[in-house]
Amino acid sequence: MSAPLAGVNVLDLSWVMVGPASGRYLADLCADVIKVESFKRIDPVRTLGPFKDGKTGPERSVSYHNLNAGKRCVAIDIRRPEGREIILRLAKWADVVLESFTPGVLETLQLGYADLKQRNEQIIMASTSLLGQTGPYAKGTSGVGTMGAAMSGATHQIGWPDREPAGPFGPWTDAVTPRFIVASILAALHRRSRTGVGSYIDVSQAEAGIQFMMPAYYEYAANGTIPERRGVAGSPLHAPQGLYPCSGEDRWIAIDASSPAHWEAFRDLIVELHAAKFDTIVGRLRNRAELEAAIAGWTREQDAEAIEHLMQAAGVPAHVVSRSGDFARDVDLREAGHLNKINDPVFGEAEIEGPRFSLDRTSLAPTRRGPRIGEHTNEVLATVLGMSETEIAQLSEAGILA
């Protein structure tokens, strides 16, 4: 059975993370995704690690492959008129266009939605930026995912009360936003299959981040309470729920034995928890410090994975706080085939992630490496746009395919 997006063409003008990660979802669903890059302005994600064996280089970033697996890549200088014309012709071929330029840039290049729609009435185009395309601060505002996290209220809530907010790991909204872009594109594709109508989609990364923070936003909007950072992991309404130190450097086990059934199974394993003051939820909350200390005293000298197995055998929710080294031997990911070997002509073997979900009837794309800069320029110009070798050579000589 053919995959959901087999036959769907995607022109990916985006770079760094949000746009490319959205394109990756579409490539996993077997869309033909053509990434547009330029040797003059390479995708900055190529400068981000991890690099194969820690050696830097534009074709050595494994993160790049994780975000661009299965795409094709053309190198085009879109600022030149001939380059612009290639983009317009590719827009005619495309069902979906993705872009993440600073708002206003594509319009200046006359490659905005209105320009693309002239060539392809049914086009679905998705733009993403820090603050969106409209509103008083939109135009000209560029930003990164740490700024999205700060402006969605996430950063404020993560940290220790006696220190500055630490914020979530990495450019957090770069992880959140692609979900809203892809869902919007797929909904637009569904509508188009019925009605023939395309769409322009505008997703602000800061606004997308707020979606994952909705309970905290509602706490302010309905109750007038501003949620603050509290540092320690685990909810004040759940005890015991927290992180406990294990043997080795920076090893932690997350245990959540707060529900009554889990608690009974859990306390059976640790003799120090048999005290009557821990019998009830109220008792455990009032004696939380003592409870947490007793658990930490028990975990401290033990191996984190051994505790995880012991807890799971008793039916208690627990998991090692996974670090990258844990993933390398994680049976859940290994047996699910989530980590896949790629073989790159430049650096050899590495591992990247597979699709984020599975479908049992229509296949998803096997995980492939990402393209090198301009790897498919000639192929795409010849087979997609029907250009002759002479035409391509002329463009190349004129420095358009650079």
């Binding site: 979606q211 994952f212 309470t225 997350a254």
Partner: protein, 407 residues
């Protein structure tokens, strides 16, 4: 956009965002709860801090635009009603219960039905029987281990996140199956692992070992560059602001403007504004600059930030084109003029006499608008209406089912 699509959501924390995204995009979504109420109704925070089955703000935030019925899926009657209802819907979304099983497993769905199951771990994998909560799934995602400072334990979001990550990916998986069905008329089973969904936020921790690299460590609070602690968050007059110091041809230009601004305002020596920040790192090895210059810049920024409010710093950041933004709390988010004027918010009631402005428009479309058409359903609010309209049950039959506890 999805106005021809009907979704049955067997409510669990992990399904809530999935169902709501589809409802926001136009689908007719009905949540199916146990007669005692979905576990999502017991998620904090609560209206006025007072718990109650209609008072969970998490429930309100993630269930507007849906209707709701109750069914006891463990009873033969509930199961039969579920089977009949599913015939009338295109999509069924559920979360596998503990140990990977689902009360829907004994129901045979029509070939055109799309069934999406969310489980904590891969349902066919060795951890399929793991007991899990949102907290332990997040621990397994790889993000907390990298969040915070190394001298203290890892940091977690104070809000459940695995359920958000899984719900958003479930919306995508479901829509992908819908598009496949548009072509050939056949449904299928989609499966989402909340752990794999949440790993997106670890930004590729899982690919670190396979690419021949050592493990990363938590360094969030301050990055060490040339031996200098360079923070990303600075205290200002009324809160905190995020300032990113970068180097190289693109980000270095922003640092240049930042340094000049700090110098112009008298918070750093004029020389700091004149150093070539794009080439700072390479100049460092050539001994044209020294780590003390970077330290002076950081000290200057600390002093500059303390002298200004979040709003003042944001205004300057816009004007100068800096990689800097206010660290907004939820009050700032609610009041931000950009979100307000862009039309992010739309009102929705959470109680008989209270409305909130929901930040509902996660995307804006040229020819569609996300609207909040109805607040989150009260427990069993639409049971009678839906059982009558969809299944043709009589008033007597519906009352009999209620009396027996099946609905």
């Amino acid at each position: 956009m999805l106005d021809d699509v009907r979704v049955l959501e067997v409510s669990a924390p992990e399904t809530m965002l999935a169902g709501r995204m589809l409802a926001d995009l136009g689908a007719d979504v009905v949540v199916v709860e146990t007669p005692a109420g979905s576990p999502g109704r017991r998620l904090a925070p609560f209206l006025d801090g007072i718990p109650g089955i209609e008072r969970s703000l998490t429930w309100h935030a993630l269930n507007y635009n849906k209707r709701g019925v109750t069914l006891d899926l463990l009873s033969p009657d509930g199961k039969a009603l579920m089977r009949d209802l599913a015939m009338k819907f295109d999509i069924v979304i559920e979360a596998a219960s503990a140990r990977g099983t689902s009360p829907l497993d004994s129901i045979e769905f029509a070939p055109r039905t799309i069934r999406c199951t969310i489980a904590p771990f891969v349902r066919t994998g060795p951890k399929r029987e793991y007991s899990a909560t949102d907290f332990t799934v997040m621990a397994a995602s790889g993000a907390p281990a990298m969040t915070g400072d190394l001298d203290r334990p890892p940091l977690f979001f104070p809000i459940p996140q695995a359920m958000m990550e899984a719900g958003a990916d479930a919306a995508i998986a479901t829509l992908a199956a819908l598009i496949a069905r548009d072509r050939d008329g056949l449904g299928q089973r989609a499966e989402v692992s909340a752990r794999i969904a949440a790993m997106v936020g670890s930004f590729g921790q899982a690919i670190v070992p396979g690419s021949g690299n050592p493990e990363g460590k938590r360094t969030q609070g301050a990055m060490k560059i040339a031996g200098v602690q360079v923070p990303s968050v600075y205290e200002c007059a009324d809160g905190f602001t995020l300032i990113t110091i970068g180097f190289g041809p693109v980000f270095g230009q922003m640092t240049q403007r930042l340094a000049k601004w700090a110098a112009d305002e008298g918070h750093a020596d004029s020389r700091i504004g004149e150093i070539s920040w794009p080439t700072f790192i390479s100049d460092l090895s050539a001994r044209k600059t020294s780590p003390s210059d970077l330290q002076a810049l950081v000290d200057g920024l600390k002093s500059l930030a303390r002298s200004k409010t979040k709003a003042e710093l944001a205004e300057s950041s816009r004007r100068l084109g800096l990689l800097s933004s206010p660290v907004m709390n939820m009050k700032d988010v609610a009041e931000y003029v950009q979100y307000r004027e862009r039309g992010l918010f739309t009102p929705v009631s959470v109680d008989a006499d209270r409305e909130v402005d929901a930040p509902a428009r996660f995307a804006q479309f040229s020819n569609y608008s996300i609207e909040v058409k109805r607040p989150a359903p009260k427990l069993s609010e639409h049971s009678a209406e839906i059982f009558e309209a969809e299944l043709g049950l009589s008033k007597t039959e519906i009352q009999a089912l209620f009396v027996a506890g099946a609905i």
